[in-house]
Amino acid sequence: MEKRFVYADNAATTAPSREAIEAMMPALTDEWGNPSSLHTKGQRAKELIEQARATIADRLGAMRSEIYFTSCGTEADNWAIRGAAYANVKKGKHIITSKVEHHAVLYTCEQLEKEGFEVTYLDVDGDGRVYPEQVRDAIRPDTTLVAIMYANNEIGTIMPIEEISAVCKEKGVLFFTDAVQAVGNVPIDVHKLGVDMLSLSGHKIHAPKGIGALYIKRGIRIQNLINGGGQEAGKRSGTENVPYICALAKAIEIATDKLGEVYKIARKRDRLIDTVLKTIPNSRLNGPREGRLAGNANFSFDYIEGESMMLLLNEEGICVSTGSACSSRSLEPSHVLLAIGLPHEKAHGSLRISITHETTDEDIDYILQKLPEVVLRLRLMSPLYNG
């Protein structure tokens, strides 16, 4: 098979779509005014933002006034948690989250602990799932916020958000979900979900990096994030990134339009998973077989380490990622893989392959040809392998 370039790290970031890039252009070329200016130039830019806000609100089942633009998903996560925590200190200082959240959530919670808050980190099952009953059991009179991700970025587990949300509503506790990986993969209707806050990010759905948004349900009060010129209803000041906001709206529009085709990605992913597990001995799938993100596959291969796999695949033109410690700044492997009960050595040998609409059957064939070769090549070098 001829050498190809296969980008299969779409959980890290996606290629900006032509449509998203084109959607930015008016704000870069003609409508470059400051949306806060009251003259025509400014108001034209303001219109672009409000159109984008309306599109996004529509696609999420929200109202325009409930959508706030941020610079990224991490900012939205930080803001939702800190903002809600500090707005509700009179009620209490207890927060509930899970052990498999993104670091944008986990490290915000850890920081809050240093500031005198108490945080409960819920365990997950072997597939990375949190159950509504766990949330119910963990809620105390002083609990103000529950933060559980919609879908896991490493192993693709989709959480029972509607059920968790119902528990929170019943108990009178705010519920925030990090939906950065979920948007474009599952239908999102904030009212049906019943969430109080929801974060999303542009570059995971083919918009550029540097744009995100936070949905805050009307009536929910959280602390302002940035003080200044009063943009975003005074909650998040700073001159708006008009081009990227337009790109985000276009990307969400396309992503939600394509929801009916997500099964096609899942079909390719299933062929990838089935063939890998069948052809590579001592391999395992991390995360659930059902109820996982359509584009996500995460494997562990015994006797070898993930970074070396990733690098050798890169030499073959295939871009993927790993949960091995050797690819991180710490010496610990992925907290998600440890939380689902994987021993360290299996977590070190993990590989995440994340595909998208753009991934072709030929790309999957190419991965299926190269991956077993790379695994065997490294196993033959490994002192742990007696094949």
């Binding site: 006797y303 360290h344 070098m381």
Partner: protein, 147 residues
């Protein structure tokens, strides 16, 4: 790129991979929990390392440091091999990212552990400073070595 060309060369085309069934000294350092294990096999004749092979479980730099360490000691005397330092390994590879320095420490320790095993088999009573007892607790030891 995270790694130098030299590292990538040794990682993608590692020298001296394998085992020596009738080795005169075998050393194994690191552990699977930490994510790297190096096993080194030495064939020694008249105090000269005539052959050396390795097997490594680990990241790209763990494989590259093992590979270059075998090149650096092959054909040298045991005493010369004992002077191999992790710094020399790093320099020979045109540098390593800071988080990967511990791989070079492992390579030095693997060589020393193999020689210690050789001494033991020969009944030579010599202490090897810095030799690893094969029970590396990766994080603290990496720290001790200035990582």
């Amino acid at each position: 790129m995270l790694y130098s060309e030299k590292v990538m060369d040794h990682f993608t085309h590692p020298r001296n991979v394998g085992e020596i069934p009738d080795a005169d000294g075998v050393g194994e350092v690191g552990n699977a929990v930490c994510g790297d294990i190096m096993k080194m096999f030495l064939k020694i004749e008249n105090n000269v390392i005539v052959d050396v092979k390795f097997k490594t479980f680990g990241c790209g730099s763990a494989i590259a440091t093992s590979s270059i360490a075998t090149e650096m000691i092959k054909g040298h005397t045991v005493d010369e091999a004992l002077t191999l330092t992790n710094k020399a390994v790093v320099e020979a590879l045109d540098g390593l990212p800071p988080a990967k320095i511990h791989c070079s420490v492992l390579a030095e320790e693997a060589v020393k552990a193999a020689i210690a095993d050789y001494y033991k088999r020969q009944g030579i009573d010599k202490e090897i400073p810095g030799a690893c007892d094969g029970n590396c607790e990766c994080c603290p030891s990496a720290e001790e070595h200035g990582h």
